[in-house]
């Protein structure tokens, strides 16, 4: 099936029919979202709901729009005036592009972790405390508690508790990535966006991050972009397959990886010539 023969109506039908949960449990509600860079379409009329307290993975070949979609969820595209957008993104029912939305507050609620760990050039403690201080927390005891809680939530506490004031650069790549996750968690987000969070890590660090992702979903909603399909299959509850800016198929991960509905999905996840 070629991309052209796949109508928007068909996408809509499959994407909404397969993933079925009450609208009250949706965290993000994306409706007819289209996005273009300098007039070149990157996302086309995309509609999907991301369930709360679940891990949702976006998969698809390079340039399919999965990172673009992820970045749209905390308005990172605002920084680029070449981007044009149509459609709506609602977070817990509220349009994130609404007039009264405070972008800084949106980005606190919707934290993001990137492919390459990017700790600040300061101590482990200060990395985690940074955002919390910006929120106005000053008391040392309170900061200590939050730092410990965040590092524990990110499964890093045991490894760093003896030397919290060492530079973040002394940590390994996998530890740095967990530190970045701890820093994001410290400001108590509702959603964590992860853009290829483990692609620069070795297999053991990757498993630790995956374990962490699974553990965190009781606290918040996670959205993961990955090229690694096994990773999507291992950690996510729902998977959305994007291709050429369209949502092709969106289904519970178990279904998508054992019995996808569409040929295009099947071809991609099994490594066939499309």
């Amino acid at each position: 099936m070629s991309a052209a023969s796949f109508s928007a109506a068909e996408t809509q039908r499959f994407s909404s029919a397969v993933v079925d949960f009450p609208s009250t449990s949706s965290c993000f509600d994306i409706e007819a979202l289209s996005l273009a860079y300098e007039g070149k379409p990157a996302l086309r009329d995309l509609t999907l709901r991301v369930p709360r307290h679940r891990v949702t993975a976006f998969i698809g070949p390079s340039g399919c729009g999965k990172s673009t979609l992820l970045r749209g969820l905390n308005r990172l595209h605002d920084l680029n005036d070449q981007v044009t957008r149509n459609g709506h993104i609602r977070l817990e029912g509220q349009d994130i592009h609404g007039r009264d939305v405070d972008v800084a507050e949106l980005r606190r609620r919707v934290g993001m972790v990137f492919q390459t760990p990017n700790p600040f050039p300061m101590s482990i403690y200060e990395n985690v405390a940074y955002g919390v201080r910006l929120q106005g927390v000053k008391r040392k005891r309170e900061l200590d508690e939050i730092v410990e809680w965040a590092l524990q939530s990110a499964a890093l506490w045991e490894e760093v508790k003896a030397d919290l004031h060492a530079s973040a650069w002394t940590l390994s790549g996998g530890q740095q990535q967990r530190l970045v996750i701890a820093r994001t968690l410290a400001v108590r987000p509702d959603v964590l966006l992860l853009d290829e969070p483990a692609s620069a890590l070795d297999p053991i660090s990757t498993l630790k991050i995956e374990e962490l992702i699974r553990g965190l979903k009781s606290q918040l909603t996670l959205i993961l972009v990955t090229h690694n399909m096994q990773q999507a299959a291992r950690v996510s509850d729902y998977t959305a397959f994007l291709h050429a800016g369209e949502l092709v198929e969106y289904a519970p991960t178990d279904t998508l990886f054992t019995n996808p509905r569409l040929r295009r999905t099947e071809d991609y996840i099994t490594g066939r010539v499309g």
Binding site: A233, F257, N259, P260, E266, D267, T270, G271, V273
Partner: protein
């Protein structure tokens, strides 16, 4: 998404295509072997040919070896390729199918063993007609099940599922009449018990053919239809 038997030859990795193709080929070879075993075992009995019956018994090891070999291949594909979707279903269906085929081989062996007992007793026993009929019936089922696997043909697989019901009925009728014979002529009990064991083995072959057909539906449609009434399947498979 339904798949065809071409589906597994379109990977970017040609090596992977070959591995999956190889699994199918080996499974068909194993199927051919056990099909022949059932046929030979029954013919040996009907024609009083003890050498053929012995040969069937001797070929059991070959079937067991094939099962182990195919399962090893499947394990290797799972470990190295981490197949998904229809590729995963193919590997699972092959693993399940080898287990059923191996048991068909065991049943053929059982038939051959009892055939030898009957041939050696040199007594004409009742029940040969029933054995002939039932064996023709289940051999057709087995053949169709294997063909449906080779062609990814769910309609043929569904037909096999329906056949199993009539095989079960045929088996019940045959045993009932044999019980009557045993009551009438107690001297025939030993040989009739052998005949009943053979009928039972044939009926089991039908059950395994039925399982194979279910694996085909799983492979092609992604539906697990075990423990489902074939009548309900007609609707869900859109016959």
């Amino acid at each position: 998404m339904d798949i065809t038997n071409e589906t597994h030859s379109q990977h970017i990795s040609r090596q992977f295509n070959q591995e999956l193709e190889q699994l199918k080929t080996q499974l068909m070879a194993m199927g051919g072997l056990v099909e022949k075993q059932v046929q030979d075992a029954v013919e040996a009995l009907l024609e009083g040919d003890s050498r053929t019956a012995e040969r069937v018994r001797d070929s059991d090891n070959a079937v067991n070896d094939m099962q182990i070999q195919i399962d090893e291949e499947c394990t290797r594909v799972l470990a190295r390729r981490q197949p998904a979707a229809s590729d995963l279903r193919l590997v699972l269906a092959v693993i399940r199918a080898t287990s059923d085929l191996e048991r068909v081989g065991d049943e053929a062996n059982k038939i051959a063993r009892n055939a030898l007992t009957l041939i050696e007793s040199d007594r004409h026993s009742r029940g040969m007609v029933e054995i002939r009929h039932l064996s023709e019936h289940v051999r057709k089922m087995l053949r169709d099940a294997l063909t449906s696997f080779a062609r990814f043909d769910t309609r043929l697989a569904l037909q096999v599922l329906h056949e199993d019901e009539s095989v079960d009925n045929e088996y019940t009728t045959a045993t009932r009449s044999l019980v009557t014979f045993m009551m009438e002529d107690p001297r025939a009990i030993t040989s009739i018990l052998s005949v009943m064991t053979i009928l039972r083995a044939l009926e089991r072959v039908g059950d395994h053919a039925d399982n194979l057909a279910e694996h085909v539906i799983y492979l092609v449609k992604g539906l697990d239809v075990r423990h489902t009434d074939p009548g309900e399947l007609d609707e869900s498979l859109g016959k």
